[in-house]
C-alpha cells in the first residue's frame, strides 16, 4: 500500500520537477542584496518604480540572509554567475577589488566629471572605503556609524540629566556606569554599559575606533604587518576590558544579545548604555526610542574626535556587456537620487555633502539624532582595508574574548592576535 502511494507521488512529482518555473533568460537586470529590512523594502519600492518606467529593462531583485550572502556572492563571482549588480559591505570590498572581480565604476555615467568632482558631492571620506588604486568600485547606498545609546529613564532615575550628563569619554562611561549599574548580591542584574560581543565585525569596528583614538592602528601603513600589539593597541584593549574588571559595571554572561538582535539588551532595559549603529533607531521603533537617547561615539580626546564608519554600496559585475553596464549605472543613479527618501524609509543617513541642509529633515534632526549620526560620519574613517579582513577580524575577536572572558593579559593576547594576523597576511 505504501509502495503504490509512493509510486503515485513520484508520478505526480516528475512533471512538477520537469516543468520548473520558466526561469529562462529574461531581458532583465539582476540585483542582489543582503537581508536588512527596512532597507530591503525601500529597495523593492525603487525597483517597482523603475520597472514601471523601464519595462524593457526590468529589474529582478533578490535578497539573502546576511552572513551567508557574502559566501554566496563569493561563489557566484568565482564561477562568473553573479548578478549584474550587487550590494557589498565595505569591509569585504578589498577581497573583491584585489582580485579584479568588480567592474570599476564609470564616474561619467553617474553624471560627474571625475572622481574628485564626485567626492565633493559626498561627505569627506565617504567614498574612501570604496576606492582602490585610484578607482571607485562601488557606489554607497548606506552609510552608518557607531554611536552611544543611553537609556534616559535610567539616567533620570539615578539623578542625572541625560541631556547634559551623558558620557563624552570612555572614562566617563565608567564613572557614570557605576551610578547606573544594578546588582542583586554579587550578580549584576542591569549592566551599566557593555559592548556587543557577538560578532567579529562589530569587534573590529569599535576596536578600530579605540586604537585610532589612541593614535595607533591595527595594520601598519603598508598593510603588511600587524601593529595591534603596540602601546596604542594595548591601551585600547585595556579600555575595552575595564568595564568588566576595573569599573565592574559590565558582565558579558548577562547578555541576551544574539546576532539577530545585538542591541536587544538595550531595548529590553538590561543595560543602561550601549554602542550600536544608526539603524537601531528604526529597529527599536518609536516606542522604545522614547526611553533612549543617542549621543556621539565616546572619545579618548573629545577635542579631536575619531570615529568609525562603515557602509553598503552597489558594485557592478564586470562580465556583463558594456551596454548593460551603462543601464546598470543609470539604475544606480536612479537609486541614489533621493538621499532624503533613503533616510526616511531606512533610517540610515545618506553620506551626501549637503545632506543635513536638505529641507524637511529638521524634525529628524531633533528627534532622531540625525545630527549626531552625520557628525560622527564626517569625522569617521573606514575600517582597515585588507583582503584578509575577515581573518584579521576573527583574530582580534578572539583576542578580545581572551581578555574579557578569561581575564588574559592584554599585551599577551594582542601578541597572539598579531601572530595570527601576520600569518594570515603572509598568505597573500
Amino acid at each position: 500500500m505504501q509502495r503504490s502511494f509512493i509510486a503515485l507521488l513520484s508520478a505526480a512529482l516528475v512533471p512538477a520537477i520537469l516543468a520548473t518555473p520558466s526561469l529562462a533568460q529574461q531581458k532583465s537586470i539582476t540585483w542582489w542584496e543582503h537581508s536588512n529590512p527596512p532597507h530591503n523594502n525601500y529597495s523593492q519600492e525603487l525597483v517597482g518604480e523603475w520597472n514601471k518606467k523601464h519595462p524593457d529593462n526590468a529589474v529582478q531583485y533578490d535578497f539573502f540572509a546576511m552572513t551567508p550572502y557574502f559566501k554566496k556572492l563569493s561563489v557566484a563571482l568565482s564561477t562568473k554567475s553573479a548578478a549584474d549588480m550587487f550590494t557589498v559591505v565595505d569591509s569585504l570590498l578589498p577581497s573583491f577589488t584585489t582580485k579584479d572581480v568588480l567592474a570599476p565604476i564609470h564616474i561619467d555615467w553617474l553624471g560627474y566629471k571625475n572622481l574628485d568632482d564626485m567626492k565633493s558631492a559626498y561627505l569627506p571620506g565617504a567614498l574612501d572605503g570604496y576606492i582602490h588604486n585610484g578607482k571607485l568600485y562601488a557606489v554607497p547606498v548606506v552609510s552608518a556609524t557607531l554611536s552611544l545609546y543611553i537609556n534616559s529613564d535610567h539616567f533620570k532615575e539615578a539623578g542625572l540629566d541625560p541631556e547634559k550628563d551623558y558620557p563624552k569619554t570612555w572614562e566617563d562611561i565608567g564613572r557614570i556606569g557605576q551610578k547606573l549599574v544594578k546588582r542583586q548580591g554579587k550578580t549584576i542584574t542591569r549592566e551599566g554599559f557593555d559592548f556587543a560581543m557577538h560578532s567579529a565585525q562589530w569587534t573590529m569596528w569599535y576596536m578600530e575606533g579605540l586604537i585610532r583614538q589612541y593614535g595607533g592602528s591595527i595594520l601598519d601603513a603598508s598593510g603588511t604587518k600587524c601593529t595591534a600589539n603596540s602601546d596604542a593597541g594595548v591601551k585600547a584593549m585595556q579600555t575595552r576590558a575595564m568595564y568588566v574588571r576595573k569599573y565592574e559595571i559590565s558582565d558579558p554572561t548577562v547578555s541576551v544579545a544574539t546576532a539577530a538582535l545585538p542591541a536587544d539588551d538595550l531595548a529590553k532595559g538590561r543595560v543602561s548604555m550601549f554602542i550600536t549603529h544608526a539603524g537601531s533607531v528604526a529597529q527599536f521603533g518609536p516606542a522604545a526610542m522614547q526611553h533612549i537617547k543617542v549621543v556621539p561615539f565616546p572619545q579618548v580626546n573629545p577635542a579631536k574626535p575619531v570615529t568609525v564608519v562603515y557602509g553598503f554600496a552597489i558594485a557592478v559585475n564586470p562580465t556583463i556587456p558594456e551596454a548593460k553596464q551603462k543601464t546598470v549605472h543609470e539604475l544606480i543613479r536612479f537609486i541614489i537620487q533621493d538621499p532624503k527618501g533613503w533616510y526616511e524609509k531606512t533610517a540610515y543617513p545618506y553620506p551626501s555633502a549637503n545632506f543635513l541642509k536638505l529641507p524637511g529633515l529638521e524634525e529628524a534632526r531633533k528627534t532622531r539624532y540625525l545630527d549626531v549620526f552625520v557628525k560622527d560620519i564626517s569625522t569617521g574613517s573606514f575600517a582597515t582595508r585588507s583582503p584578509q579582513f575577515v581573518e584579521i577580524a576573527d583574530a582580534m575577536h578572539r583576542a578580545m574574548e581572551r581578555v574579557v572572558l578569561k581575564g588574559d593579559d592584554e599585551k599577551k593576547s594582542l601578541d597572539q592576535a598579531c601572530a595570527d594576523i601576520n600569518d594570515a597576511l603572509k598568505q597573500q
Binding site: I6, T20, T79
Partner: protein, 277 residues
C-alpha cells in the same frame, strides 16, 4: 507464573519514569510551541513564563506573511519529497545489490560509496556547484535535488537490514521463476518496512534542513527553500523571537507528518524472523 510484588512495583516504577522521561525529551518542542504563542516580551520574561497570558495566534499569520513563505514551503516540500523518493528507491536497490549479490569489485564499490559519506556537502560546495552548473541545473528544482538524491547512509542502512533477510526467501522466489527485479519489488521491499520508514524520515528531514546548498544554487525568490526564508527573519525588529518560533513550528509540520506516516513500521516493530512479541 506471577512475579513477586517487589518486581511488579519495580517494573511499574520504571514505566512511570519512562513516561516522565518523555517530558524531558519533548520539552524543547513544548517550549517552541509555547513561545510561538507568546508576545515578544513574554518570551524572555523572568521569572520564567511557561504559558503565554493570552494565546497570540496572530503571530502565525504575521510571521508567515512577511515573505513568500508559502512559496518557500512548497519548494522545500517538493524537493524533500523528491529526494526522499529517490533515496528510498535507489538506496534500497543498491542496498539489495550490495547485500545479496556477488559481483566484481563489490567491496571496492562499497568503499567508494562509504567514501562519499565522509565529507559534508558544505565542504565540497564549490566543486559540486561547478558540476551542477555544467549540467545546466542552476536555479532549477533538479539542481536542488540531484546532489541529495542518493545518500550513502541510506545504502549503508538498507544493506545492513537486507543482509539479515533470509536467503531462502530469495532462492524460493527464483526457483518459482520470479525475475530479479520482481524479487526485489515483491519480496525484499515489503520486508524492509522498518528500514524504509527510517530512511524516508531521515532523508526528508535532512533535505528539508539543507541551507548552504540551496543558498548557492538558487537565486530566484521563486525557488528559495524554507531554511533560507527562516534565516532571512534574523535581523528584524526587536520583537522577533516569538515569530521565528512560529515559523519554526510551521516548518516542523511536514517532517512531523512524514514521521507520523512512516512510524508505524518501526514503532510497532516488525521483527524479521516473524517472531511475535
Amino acid at each position: 507464573m506471577s512475579k513477586p510484588a517487589a518486581l511488579r512495583w519495580g517494573g511499574r516504577l520504571i514505566t512511570v519514569l519512562t513516561i516522565a522521561g518523555i517530558g524531558l525529551v519533548l520539552l524543547p518542542y513544548f517550549w517552541m510551541v509555547s513561545s510561538s504563542l507568546k508576545t515578544g516580551s513574554e518570551v524572555f520574561e523572568l521569572p520564567i513564563r511557561w504559558l503565554p497570558e493570552h494565546l497570540q495566534w496572530a503571530n502565525y499569520p504575521n510571521a508567515l506573511s512577511r515573505w513568500s513563505f508559502g512559496t518557500y514551503f512548497l519548494n522545500s516540500t517538493v524537493v524533500a519529497v523528491a529526494v526522499m523518493i529517490c533515496n528510498l528507491l535507489f538506496c534500497s536497490l543498491a542496498g539489495y545489490g550490495f547485500a545479496k549479490f556477488r559481483f566484481r569489485f563489490r567491496e571496492a564499490w562499497f568503499i567508494l560509496v562509504l567514501c562519499t559519506l565522509m565529507l559534508p556537502l558544505e565542504i565540497v560546495l564549490v566543486p559540486t556547484y561547478l558540476v551542477v552548473r555544467q549540467l545546466g541545473l542552476v536555479d532549477t528544482y533538479a539542481g536542488l535535488i540531484a546532489p541529495l538524491a542518493v545518500d550513502a547512509f541510506g545504502i549503508f542502512l538498507m544493506r545492513q537490514y537486507i543482509r539479515d533477510l533470509p536467503d531462502s526467501l530469495i532462492e524460493a522466489a527464483r526457483l518459482d521463476g520470479c525475475s530479479e527485479f520482481g524479487i526485489f519489488w515483491r519480496i525484499i521491499l515489503p520486508n524492509c518496512k522498518p528500514a524504509l520508514g527510517a530512511l524516508a524520515i531521515l532523508s526528508f528531514r535532512d533535505t528539508w534542513d539543507q541551507f548552504l546548498w540551496p543558498l548557492i544554487v538558487v537565486s530566484k525568490n521563486a525557488l528559495k527553500t524554507f531554511p533560507l526564508g527562516l534565516a532571512q527573519m534574523e535581523g528584524i525588529d526587536s520583537a522577533a523571537y516569538h515569530e521565528i518560533m512560529a515559523v519554526a513550528v510551521v516548518g516542523m509540520l511536514p517532517a512531523a507528518l512524514i514521521f507520523l506516516f512512516f512510524q508505524r513500521s518501526f514503532v510497532r516493530g516488525i521483527a524479521l524472523s516473524g517472531v511475535k512479541e
